[in-house]
Amino acid sequence: MSYSLTTLWYDRQRFLPGVLAVSFSAVLIALQCGLLLGLFSVTSIPIDHTRAHIWLCPPSVLSVDVARPIPEWYLSRLASQPEVDQCEIYIQAFGQWVKPTGGAELCIVIGSRLEDNALGAVEELTPALRTALTEPGAVVIDDSELDRLSISGIGATGEINGHRVRVVGMVHGLKSIAGPYIFCSIETARAVLMSRMSPENYKATYILARCKNPADAPAVVARLRNQDIEAHRDRPTMAVFTASEFSLRSRLHWLFKTKAGIALGYAALLGLLVGAVVTSQTLYAATAAAVREYAVLQALGIPRWRMAMAVMSQSFWVGISGVIIAFPTVFCLAWVADLMGAKVLLPPELLAGSGAVTLVMAVLSGLAAMRSLRMVEPAILLR
């Protein structure tokens, strides 16, 4: 075992603050980023939980939840593509949910086909729920939104834009940031939103398509973009994306255009700073405590760089120890957050990145701690 690791284990109480500080930083960064990813993954639920490969959108659309109507006949633009197997209309727009108890709540009305092969129906809509939605005015909501909508559950009625609707079922895990998702049929969506849609032939928000071979989607998207540019150089009539592109675009819109992403990023940065300060102070104190021992080594001719390497090695092991403690802690806290309704996504890249950033921070803290080696002068050992 290396001397640094031996010392770290023997003096673990002394190094504990540094290890915990590294762990704290890693947990904070991973959780903040995971919360961020989880939070904004909600914004792309309509894309990520459906079967479409291609989304044809209004021009300059920023996010899936802020789109204007487009003509229904845009269906033919997608249907004419040889790689496309299926395409359909999809409606999504904001509405005003009038609460039975008074007041109103912004909601997002999503209207889709309800057949088994529907591209726009979220996968959480079971065949039974889709059958129930064929009733005019029937809606399905997420079970976490009952309080926001001030309703009791299945069978409750409400009003959207002056149109009466009835809750016929609930799904789980589809909580929204902006306003509760209200899932319904195309017909119900048009009835509820018709007064907000103009002109008469603009009866869709998106046109969805599915390719025979999913790998063909990017090529279809590129072709449609080129065709639109060639035909309408100065005034594009549409935007078209693959599902993954549109999902990322929607999330990034919420990340950068809202202050939530900046606030969470700031918190993560502060966590890193706190971790760096505590870790460097811990290492400084540990090195200062051994200054006489290091002075003997220097008297014996051991070069200073060797001692510096020992300090850096200690900071590396402090970092590794902190990261090892952080991983199970992150998963525990993510589970607790999920119980409270906050989604935390922890992809392997995020965990690896958090660990790497924190480890670099710990090693750099070792550099700051090396100023204690300046106190090492063999002459201090003499009376």
């Binding site: 031996t6 023997y10 002075a295 220097q298 014996l300 051991i302 070069p303 050992l381 003499l382």
Partner: protein, 256 residues
């Protein structure tokens, strides 16, 4: 190299050494024109009252503290004309040190304390460093205690580990500052015996700074420092327990 040098040829010479601290009204002179010579295979004992400059002289002679003026010639090299890096390499190759406090790393075993010097200093391979460390610890009577940490050892054992750390490199010079001060005499005598073995059997040049007059009989040469200058060593020898044979009075022999 130690075997090649005649025992009467000095390996270390201090010439007209002066060292002051502070300036103006608070200026203090720790060494005032001190000159001496140390020879291989001998234990030289430097004594004197507290504040006489003994530790300062040891530091200057060993390359740890720069003199204000004067010269230190060691193995025909002017020690204080070297760069810091050259002096560091000189100490690495030729010098061992024993200090009053053991200054052992609390987390490391006796074996690891010695291995560290070889691996970090000479770049010795792990297995060779272990072998030499175990050999040295056996010589020091600590063969069965090589795995113990300082907290598990007595004061005498710790100081023997410190001696082992100083001698593991087989240095030409060994500088010891009050090596027996923190020990009872039974253990202190062991320490001095080890240093005498290093001098007489290996030919090392040993300089011990000590207050303890019981060390005098073990010394081959005696220096007495008072107020920064060397005085007649008889001043130290006139005290009780100061018996000995074959010891030379360095004051009378040196043409200072």
């Amino acid at each position: 190299m130690m075997d090649d040098l005649p025992r009467t040829t000095p390996t270390l010479q201090g010439r007209n050494l002066t060292r002051t601290f502070g300036e103006g009204e608070v200026k203090a002179t720790a060494l005032d024109g001190v000159s001496l010579e140390l020879c291989p295979g001998q234990i030289s004992l430097l004594m004197g009252p507290s504040g006489s400059g003994k530790s300062t002289l040891l530091a200057v002679l060993s390359g740890l503290l720069r003199p204000t003026s004067g010269q230190v010639v060691s193995l025909d090299e002017d020690l204080w004309k070297m760069s810091d890096r050259e002096r560091e390499r000189f100490r690495l190759r030729y010098c061992g040190f024993i200090f009053q406090g053991y200054n052992l790393f609390p987390a490391l075993s006796a074996r690891q304390q010695l291995e560290m010097v070889l691996r970090w200093g000479e770049g010795t391979h792990f297995r060779e460093a272990r072998r030499r460390s175990d050999e040295m610890l056996s010589l020091l009577g600590l063969g069965k205690k090589s795995h113990l940490r300082p907290a598990e050892m007595s004061g005498g054992e710790k100081q023997r580990v410190a001696i082992g750390r100083a001698l593991i490199k087989e240095p030409m010079f060994c500088f010891a500052d009050e090596p027996t001060a923190a020990l009872d005499w039974a253990h202190g005598e062991q320490v001095v015996e080890l240093l005498r073995t290093a001098a007489h059997e290996r030919g090392s040049t040993i300089l011990i700074v000590a207050h303890d007059h019981r060390v005098i009989p073990y010394a081959d040469r005696l220096f007495y420092l008072e107020d920064g200058t060397l005085k007649d060593p008889e001043l130290a020898e006139s005290l009780p327990h100061a018996t000995g044979s074959g010891r030379h009075s360095a004051y009378s022999r040196n043409d200072l």
